[in-house]
C-alpha cells in the first residue's frame, strides 16, 4: 500500500481544520466524514455517484493499509461514509485525527494523480473557496521535489 505523503497529510489536516473550525464535529460523525461529504457534491456532479464512490473506496483501501482502525469504516452506496461506533469509541482523539488525515490525504492524492494539482484545487475550492492553489501545489511540489 502507498502511504500518504506528509505534505498531503498536512493539506488534509488543513481541510479538516477548516471544516471543524468554530464548530464541533456533528453528532455521530467526524471531521473526515464532513470533509468527504462536502467533496461528494462536486465530485459526484463531475464523476457521478458511482465515480465518487469508487474513488473514495480506493482512498479508504489505501488509508487502511496505514491506519488499521479505518477497516471499521465503509463507503455506502450513495458515496457517504459510515463507521462502527463501538470501535471508534475506543480510539483516542489523536488516533481518530490521524486516521481522518490519512483518509482525506489519500482521496486528495488520488485526485492529484488523475487530474493534476490545478484541477484538483479547483474542485476543492467549490467546497472551500478559501483554499488557494498555492496550498496544494506547494505542498505536492515539496513532496516530489
Amino acid at each position: 500500500m502507498r502511504p500518504v505523503s506528509p505534505k498531503l497529510r498536512k493539506f488534509a489536516r488543513r481541510l479538516l481544520a477548516l471544516e471543524t473550525s468554530g464548530k464541533a464535529a456533528e453528532a455521530g460523525g467526524s471531521a473526515a466524514f464532513q470533509v468527504s461529504e462536502k467533496l461528494r457534491g462536486p465530485l459526484s456532479t463531475l464523476a457521478g455517484v458511482a465515480g465518487f464512490r469508487s474513488l473514495l473506496s480506493r482512498a479508504l483501501a489505501l488509508a487502511t493499509g496505514e491506519v488499521r482502525w479505518l477497516t471499521a469504516v465503509q463507503v455506502k452506496r450513495d458515496g457517504s461514509l459510515e463507521c462502527l461506533e463501538d470501535i471508534r469509541a475506543k480510539l483516542s482523539p489523536r488516533e481518530v485525527a490521524e486516521g481522518e488525515a490519512v483518509l482525506i490525504g489519500q482521496l486528495v492524492g488520488l485526485l492529484v494523480t488523475f487530474i493534476g494539482e490545478t484541477l484538483t484545487i479547483r474542485l476543492i475550492q467549490e467546497a472551500w473557496p478559501e483554499i488557494s492553489a498555492r496550498d496544494l501545489i506547494s505542498e505536492t511540489e515539496k513532496d516530489h521535489g
Binding site: S44, T45, L46, A47, G48, G51, F114, I115, L119, L123
Partner: protein
C-alpha cells in the same frame, strides 16, 4: 388603362426579404484551426448539432476545443457526461492539450454526470435533469457526451419516443439560447433513418480511414442549416493542440487575378534567365523536370540563393533529403544556406511522415510562407512529396497538386517544383503525373549521348503568356552550380530523344562543342 406601378416606400413587399430584413445568424468560432472556414465562418449560434463518428475519431476533443473557445463565467458551457468515458479520465487526458485551460473548470465550464439518472430513471427524467441544470446555469453551450448512450440503454422505447425526446431537448436548449453538441457513435447507414439526424440543425461526421498501414482522419459536414459550408471530405489531424482541419478547397475560394505586367525573378543562372525571356514571372509556378543527377535540386538551391541575395525570404520544402543534407549540398555548389536559415530568411521544411495529406503539407507550407513573407518557394520534389502522403491520397495526387499550386501561387509566392523522371531514350516526357498543365513554366533537363559521352542538356518547354528561347543548350554542374556552356546545339538533330544524330556531317561524328 393600366396604372403605372409606383415604387414601394421601404415596406416589405411580400416578395423575398432583402438582405437587411434577414435575421443575422452569429457564427461561433469552433476553436479548431481550419474548421471555421469549412463551416462557412463558424458554428451557427443556438444550433442543435450532432457530432458523430466511431471511437477514437476525436469527437470529445473537438467538443472540448469548442467549449474552451467560447465558454465564459457569465455564459458557461455545461458538459453532461453519461455512460461513456469517465469524467475524471476525460479531464486527465484532455488537459494534455494546449487549448485546455484549467482556470475555466467549474466556472466557465462545468461537467455534470448523468449516469445515475440514465441508469435508474427514464428518458423524461433525463430530459428534466438536463433542463433543470440548463435553467440554473444559463449556459451558452451544452454538450451531451455520449448522447447515444442515453438512448441505447432504453431498448423498450419506441422511435416516436426518441424523436419526441430529441425534439423536446432541441426545443428547450434553443429556447434557452444554447448552442448544443450531442456526441454519439453512429454508423453511416444511420444518417438515413435515425430521427435524431432529422431534428439536428447540423451533423458533423468524423471518421478514420485506413489505407494499407496509414490512418487518415476525415471530417464531413453532412448537414448544417443557415450557413454555406464547404461540401466534401476534409482531412484533419490531432496533435497536442487538438484537432486541426484542412479544407479541401483551402485558399481556392479567394483566388485573385494576376497583374498583367509582373516583375521577373532571376533563377540564379543568367543564361537560363535569358532562355526564359528574362527570368520567372513573379507568382508563377515553374516545373523543373529531369532524371536523377541532372541538377534539379541544384537549380532549386540557386533559385533560393539568388532570392536571398536580393533580400527575398525563401522556403524549401524538402521531402527526400534532410535539411542538414540540403545545407551541406548547397555548400558544394557555393551557396551558404546555413546563415540565411539562422537569420530567419530561409526555412527548410522537412515533411516526411508517411501519412501526410496534401492539405496538411499545404498548410505547413502556407504557414511558413506567411511567417517569413516568403517570395520564393522550392518544392523538392513532387515525387518525394507523393511518397510522403498516405496511400489514400496518392490516387488523387494530380488533382491535389492542382489545388496546391493554385493556392500557393495565389499567395504571390513564386514556386519552383522539381520532378524526377525516368530517362527514356524514345520519348520526351515532362512529368510523371501529367501535371505539366498546372505549371506556368517548364524547364526540362535531360541526358544525351554525344560521341559516347553522357552530357546534359536544358531546354525551356513552356513559359505561360510570354516568349522564350527554343534553344537546346548544354550545361554542367560545377562548384558554382548549374552553368550553361557553349552555344545552341544546332549541329544535331533528335537531341531530345537523348540519342542525337550529327546532321551536318556524315559518320564519324564531330563534336561541335570542342
Amino acid at each position: 388603362m393600366a396604372k403605372k406601378a409606383k415604387p414601394t416606400g421601404g415596406q416589405p413587399t411580400g416578395k423575398a426579404a432583402s438582405r437587411s430584413d434577414k435575421v443575422e445568424i452569429r457564427k461561433l468560432p469552433t476553436g479548431v484551426p481550419g474548421f471555421d472556414e469549412i463551416l462557412g465562418g463558424g458554428l451557427p449560434e443556438f444550433s442543435f448539432n450532432i457530432l458523430a463518428g466511431g471511437p477514437g475519431c476525436g469527437k470529445t476533443t473537438m467538443a472540448h476545443q469548442f467549449i474552451f473557445a467560447n465558454a465564459t463565467p457569465e455564459r458557461p458551457a455545461l458538459y453532461f457526461t453519461i455512460l461513456g468515458e469517465s469524467a475524471i479520465k476525460m479531464l486527465r487526458y484532455q488537459q494534455q492539450y494546449t487549448f485546455f485551460d484549467p482556470a475555466k473548470l467549474n466556472g466557465a465550464i462545468r461537467f455534470i454526470n448523468l449516469s445515475q439518472v440514465v441508469l435508474e430513471k427514464d428518458l423524461n427524467d433525463v430530459l428534466n435533469e438536463i433542463i433543470k441544470e440548463v435553467e440554473a446555469a444559463n449556459p451558452a453551450i451544452v454538450v451531451v457526451d455520449s448522447f447515444r448512450t442515453a438512448l441505447r440503454k432504453r431498448t423498450e422505447v419506441t422511435e416516436i419516443e426518441v424523436q419526441f425526446f430529441v425534439q423536446q431537448l432541441a426545443l428547450h436548449l434553443t429556447s434557452w439560447e444554447a448552442t448544443t453538441f450531442l456526441i454519439g457513435e453512429y454508423v453511416d447507414a444511420e444518417v438515413q433513418e435515425n430521427p435524431v439526424f432529422t431534428v439536428a440543425d447540423g451533423v458533423i461526421w468524423l471518421s478514420q480511414v485506413i489505407e494499407r498501414n496509414s490512418v487518415v482522419r476525415k471530417l464531413q459536414i453532412i448537414k448544417l442549416r443557415g450557413v454555406s459550408s464547404v461540401p466534401g471530405l476534409h482531412t484533419f489531424r490531432i496533435s497536442e493542440d487538438g484537432l486541426q482541419a484542412f479544407s479541401r478547397t483551402m485558399g481556392l475560394a479567394q483566388r485573385r487575378g494576376r497583374p498583367s505586367r509582373r516583375p521577373r525573378l532571376s533563377i540564379g543562372i543568367p543564361e537560363l534567365d535569358d532562355m526564359m525571356g528574362g527570368g520567372i514571372p513573379q507568382g508563377d509556378s515553374l516545373l523543373v523536370a529531369g532524371a536523377s543527377g541532372t541538377g534539379k535540386s541544384v537549380i532549386g538551391t540557386q533559385f533560393i540563393a539568388e532570392g536571398l541575395k536580393h533580400g527575398e525570404p525563401g522556403i524549401m520544402a524538402v521531402f527526400e533529403e534532410r535539411p542538414e543534407d540540403v545545407v551541406r549540398r548547397a555548400k558544394h555548389v557555393g551557396q551558404d544556406l546555413e546563415t540565411a536559415e539562422r537569420e530567419g530568411k530561409l526555412k527548410l521544411l522537412y515533411l516526411r511522415p508517411l501519412d501526410l495529406s496534401v492539405d496538411e503539407s499545404l498548410q505547413a507550407i502556407l504557414d511558413s510562407v506567411k511567417e517569413l513573407s516568403a517570395k520564393r518557394l522550392v518544392i523538392d520534389s513532387l515525387v518525394g512529396f507523393e511518397m510522403a502522403l498516405a496511400p489514400g491520397f496518392r490516387t488523387d495526387f494530380r488533382e491535389s497538386l492542382y489545388r496546391m499550386m493554385a493556392t500557393l501561387t495565389n499567395t504571390g509566392v513564386t514556386v519552383l517544383s522539381t520532378v524526377e523522371l525516368d530517362e527514356s531514350f524514345t520519348e520526351f516526357r515532362f512529368s510523371h503525373y501529367m501535371v505539366s498543365f498546372l505549371a506556368d513554366d517548364i524547364v526540362r533537363l535531360r541526358y544525351v549521348d554525344i560521341d559516347g559521352v553522357l552530357r546534359r542538356i536544358v531546354t525551356v518547354i513552356k513559359m505561360r503568356d510570354s516568349d522564350h528561347s527554343k534553344d537546346i543548350r548544354e550545361y554542367e554542374i560545377t562548384r558554382k552550380g548549374v552553368v550553361l556552356t557553349g552555344r545552341r546545339l544546332n549541329e544535331y538533330r533528335a537531341l531530345i530523344t537523348g540519342i542525337p544524330a550529327y546532321w551536318k556531317r556524315s559518320w564519324p561524328m564531330e563534336d561541335p562543342l570542342k
